[in-house]
């Protein structure tokens, strides 16, 4: 409504002073074109190159050596057991995103009850989120240290010497280190988002619930959860997308292994880490490109849903 009014006002102004309005439009085009030009050069161009590269073989970074190779890259990727392994590892580590979401929901609901010191708690809960993934990895690698790590020390205090776990050598334990580190690191974001959403819930709904004598749990499942559902969905989507792109921590935990193994039996090999190893250690850019595109298609599908919901969420 207001927008329409503005446009009308502008329209009359256009008629009065055509030169000024057209100058304004020209400036506007310049303003909006700078980011788009940047995106064309540093986004579209590279995407086109990497798309074409999938169908070729190439030496180094020399684009002139690109040669059609009869889907050889696709064959190699889809016959590569390590690629499927990496997808499985990535999905398993993405579990951390669901746990983080649950933690964020629980803690934001707790904070919304405004317990004593809730402002201080809010400040503390966000601290892990601002720590870099490198620092977080170093921190947790030391916590999980087999001999003098605090986690094995506590396990031994509880369950005796047999309760120690060799985190870096056991293929079952290894991915859990990354999951724990992510769950420590990530919920701060969700807590902030959920807190904003919980503040938006109409208080009269709770009052109506009180009148009807509805219990706390029922109020939570029937009023709170539906009201914050868009945020849950948004966080779930961004969480899954972030999980599918897990790289930093996987790389840190794997260290500089030139053999290309990431953890015992490669159980720490996420897809993006595998892509990185493929082009950085083995120099096989076209094959890495194919894997990137497979990942891209998966994530893009999820992003489409996410974007539609985000628009709804931001514009209300």
């Amino acid at each position: 409504m207001r927008n329409r009014m503005n446009r009308k006002m502008l329209d009359t102004e256009v008629r009065k002073k055509p030169s000024k309005a057209s100058k304004e439009a020209m400036m506007a085009y310049i303003f909006v074109s700078i980011p788009l030009i940047g995106y064309l050069i540093f986004g579209v161009f590279p995407i086109v190159i990497s798309f074409c590269m999938q169908f070729t073989s190439m030496t180094g970074f020399d684009l002139s050596t690109m040669e059609w190779n009869h889907f050889e890259n696709f064959k190699r990727v889809f016959e590569d057991p390590d690629f499927y392994l990496s997808i499985g590892v990535t999905l398993f580590i993405s579990l951390s995103q669901f746990i983080s979401l649950g933690v964020a929901l629980l803690m934001s609901v707790m904070l919304s009850n405004k317990p004593f010191g809730h402002k201080l708690f809010q400040v503390i809960y966000f601290i892990p989120y601002i720590c870099s993934s490198v620092a977080v990895s170093l921190m947790w690698m030391w916590m999980f240290d087999a001999d003098t790590g605090i986690i094995n020390t506590i396990l031994e205090m509880i369950g005796g010497p047999g309760a120690r776990v060799d985190w870096f050598q056991s293929p079952i334990a290894y991915p859990w280190m990354i999951i724990v580190a992510v769950v420590w690191h990530a919920p701060g974001y969700g807590i902030v988002m959920y807190k904003a959403a919980l503040n938006q819930v109409n208080p009269s709904l709770y009052e109506a619930g009180d009148v009807d004598g509805v219990g706390v749990w029922k109020k939570f499942t029937h009023i709170t959860l539906p009201a914050i559902a868009p945020t849950t969905f948004y966080l779930l989507m961004t969480g899954i997308i972030a999980g599918l792109q897990t790289f930093d921590m996987a790389k840190m935990f794997a260290g500089d292994s030139w053999l290309g193994t990431s953890g015992p039996e490669n159980v720490g090999l996420t897809t993006v880490l595998y892509i990185y190893n493929t082009f950085h250690n083995y120099g096989e850019l076209p094959r890495a490109s194919v894997m990137s595109w497979v990942l891209f298609i998966i994530i893009f599908g999820i992003s489409m849903i996410n974007f539609k919901l985000k628009k709804k969420w931001v514009d209300e």
């Binding site: 446009r7 439009a25 085009y29 980011p35 601002i130 170093l138 490109s289 990137s292």
Partner: protein, 307 residues
């Protein structure tokens, strides 16, 4: 008459009992909520305690211990000394690798953060307050770019920068960011939309052009949004690991803070040194966070993530 009086008295007593019961319930639930909040806070802070204590523990104590050292018998700051003053990088640049990394990080972060923000603001201003043909469509196109997941852009960008000769160096980390970003535009646009159009119209009547309005009116009025976005971008640059790993790995002098930190184990692999290095890397941002926490949280709650 007497009967009813008795009834009311009984009812009153029951009511009272009910009220105290409810108060007790309320009190107990408050205590439980507080306890959960406290436990979670402790769980989050334990790793900081662990790396802090370890950074102060002499290596000798770990040599003789088979468990975690909860508190050292002798406190030593030698790990900090090693990292800040004994680093071999001092011989070449005069600064230890972590300090060099800190300055490299500032250098990499500052241009995309300031110029990129200014440029994003220009576009946001045009979308929010200027009138031009095809605005909605161009905005949709702009927003569509937000949907491209970052990690899948790694390979295409890496190939592209290598093909144009930017393969190793600061350029891929600085130049693209100076063209602004869709998420920032999206955030600033919604903030600018809340500025009354009358203010802009009045400035137009005063003879200000679009650039003048942007510089003299929009930026001062939207300072909180700019600060929130600046901090958000700065934290992203400060914590960036993948970018420097791809484009700066070949020269240790170029290492940013995160890259220097991740490479620390080659020189200083002892647990106390590792923990001290991690703390040194975290503390600057932690201080900024404590001072500007409002903006950190606003930048996220309104702008959404830049994942």
């Amino acid at each position: 008459m007497k009967h009813t009086k008795l009834m009311t008295r009984v009812m009153k007593r029951e009511e009272k009992a009910e009220r105290t019961r409810r108060q007790l319930n309320n009190w107990v639930s408050k205590l439980i909520v507080f306890a959960i909040c406290l436990i979670y806070a402790i769980l989050l802070l334990v790793p900081f305690y662990v790396i802090f204590v370890t950074s102060l523990t002499p290596l000798v104590e770990y040599g003789s211990s088979t468990t975690f050292v909860w508190f050292p018998e002798t406190v030593t700051f030698e790990a900090y000394g090693d990292i800040l003053f004994e680093d071999p990088m001092i011989l070449t640049t005069g600064m230890s690798s972590i300090v060099t990394g800190f300055f490299n990080t500032l250098w990499v972060a500052i241009f995309p953060c300031i110029i990129g923000l200014f440029v994003s603001g220009l576009a946001a201003f045009a979308y929010a307050k200027l009138d031009f043909k095809g605005k909605e469509k161009i905005f949709m196109l702009e927003v569509t770019t937000m949907m491209i997941p970052m990690a899948t852009m790694t390979i295409p960008s890496y190939v592209f920068y290598n093909a144009i000769g930017w393969g190793q160096g600061f350029l891929p980390l600085i130049i693209p960011g100076m063209f602004g970003g869709a998420t920032t535009i999206f955030f600033l646009r919604s903030y600018m939309a809340s500025i009354p159009t009358e203010t802009v119209e009045a400035a137009k009547i005063d003879g200000l052009g679009p650039l003048g309005i942007y510089l003299k009116i929009m930026i001062p009025l939207c300072i909180p949004a700019y600060i929130a976005q600046f901090i958000f971008g700065f934290v992203g640059s400060y914590n960036n690991y993948t970018g420097p790993l791809l484009y700066l790995y070949s020269n240790p002098r170029w290492y940013t803070l995160q890259l220097a930190l991740s490479n620390m184990q080659n020189v200083f692999g002892n647990p106390n040194q590792q923990c001290a290095a991690a703390l040194i890397a975290i503390i600057p941002l932690l201080v900024v966070y404590i001072i500007f926490q409002r903006f950190f949280i606003e930048g996220i709650a309104v702008g959404g993530g830049k994942e």
